[in-house]
């Protein structure tokens, strides 16, 4: 690792000021620390979000949305987001217990790994990503592999999830990394169904419009029969080629519909 300063502010205000002076947020470090070890980053200064109580916790707002503060760990979401079972279940299967002790929702969404779990939940639920500056709809937030609408120095402070009637997240685990090889989040709202897919596309998390239309008309796994994902923009690696991933999208979407609760 290149040498850097590490600051540990205890309020969001202090963190925002520290960021303005130049620095990179450190949340759970479960992505950033391996990146630093590989010398793929040289931040000069890290601003830890770990000691900021106002950036932690799960609550419900007046609109019934589940609101998760940016530095809330996966483990806390698994234990406390019980009012949104598909979300709690997703958090409970990220990585392993130690990763869930440290890793946070804000870090996951800021990083926007093309195979990360939370982006599928946020996009699939139509969540709102709140920062120290503004609120961003999930549909505008995810902008491709590792790319988001966040500006330099912007901090994810909270994520607000509308709670669907039923939902499920089905993750086909890549056993070496424990990330999804392909995973699908399906959420049925009164006004329609959203389907978000992670792990599959070279452009990161995306919505599957044809599946959404089919499931909005009829919420049954068989409604997806005959729908084929175009393999063109799928990720290909040693774990699976384009056609395999395209096929998995359909399989996992059907499983999600069958398990939606």
């Amino acid at each position: 690792m290149y040498a850097f300063d590490l600051e540990r502010p205890t309020t969001l205000d202090a963190a925002v000021k520290a960021m303005a002076a130049g620095g990179q947020p450190l949340s759970g470090g479960q992505t950033l620390i391996p990146t630093l070890k590989a010398r793929l980053a040289d931040p000069g200064k890290l601003i830890s979000l770990h000691s900021i109580p106002e950036l932690k916790g799960v609550s419900t707002d007046a609109e019934g949305r589940i609101c998760i503060k940016g530095a809330t760990t996966h483990g806390t979401v698994a234990a406390e987001a019980v009012a949104y079972p598909a979300l709690a279940h997703l958090a409970a299967r990220i990585g392993d217990p130690a990763v869930r002790t440290r890793g946070t929702i804000g870090g996951s969404l800021a990083n926007n790994d093309p195979s990360a779990c939370y982006p599928a939940a946020a996009l699939g639920s139509g969540a709102t990503i709140c920062t120290d500056r503004r609120e961003i709809a999930a549909d505008d937030y995810f902008q491709g592999m590792f790319a988001t609408a966040l500006e330099d120095g912007e901090i994810v402070t909270e994520v607000k999830f509308p709670v669907p009637q039923v939902a499920a997240y089905e993750k086909f685990i890549q056993p070496a990394s424990r990330f999804p090889l392909v995973a699908v989040f399906v959420a049925k709202f009164a006004d329609g169904v959203r389907v978000a897919i992670t792990g599959a596309s070279e452009t990161g998390v995306f919505r599957w419009a044809e599946a959404e239309a089919a499931l909005s008309a009829r919420f049954e796994a068989s409604a997806l029969d005959g729908l084929a994902m175009d393999p063109d923009h799928m990720i290909a690696d040693l774990h699976g080629d384009k056609a395999y991933r395209a096929h998995l999208c359909g399989v996992m979407a059907k499983r999600a519909v069958m398990h939606a609760a």
């Binding site: 850097f4 590490l6 391996p34 070890k37 217990p97």
Partner: protein, 175 residues
């Protein structure tokens, strides 16, 4: 209070002062921002029971508890443990050397061969049994997802943890 890290190379211009409790003992020292908790434990405190297997967050050999929660000490900065209570494998047995129930079960059930992964396995098992004193075999296996063992094939580790929880171990599939 001990002044630690004297043996560690660190850059004065990036140093941070940290204090924490390790296995019930107050310690403090100076580290760099980039000093990992596992480096502080091993090189600073000479607590070398916490192993580094991969250094890439995959293997769990470096598992310790921070404020009662399981973490990979290679994936957390020492400065982030400032003020925390840290527990390592060195604090698991009684002062007179009597093994804990989990450690004894690992010995009784041959839950180790080379022993490299064992400190992490024991710490992971302790955190599981604290939250879930009577886990199912499946829950034990799921909990160990982040702990890799190159030797045992896991069966005897699972057996040991089941035994430590006071449960009979049913015959295992691959036996």
């Amino acid at each position: 209070m001990l002044r630690l890290m004297a043996s560690m190379r660190f850059r004065e211009d990036f140093h941070v002062r940290v204090s924490m409790t390790v296995n019930g003992r107050n310690v403090s020292g100076e580290v760099e921002g980039r000093t990992l908790l596992v480096e502080f434990l091993r090189e600073g405190l000479h607590l070398t029971g916490t192993h580094v297997g991969c250094d890439t967050s995959q293997c769990g050999a470096c598992t310790v508890h921070v404020d009662g929660m399981q973490v990979k000490a290679c994936s957390m900065f020492a400065a982030e443990a400032d003020g925390a209570q840290v527990a390592t494998i060195e604090g698991v047995a009684a002062n007179d050397g009597t093994l804990s129930a989990i450690q004894q079960a690992f010995q009784d059930h041959h839950g180790l061969q080379c022993g490299f992964c064992t400190p992490g396995m024991v710490m992971a098992a302790a955190s599981l049994l604290k939250a879930n004193p009577k886990p199912t075999e499946h829950e034990v296996r799921e909990h160990l997802e982040g702990n890799i063992c190159r030797c045992t094939g896991y069966h005897n580790i699972v057996k040991a943890i089941m035994a430590a929880s006071g449960q009979e171990m049913p015959a295992l599939a691959a036996e």
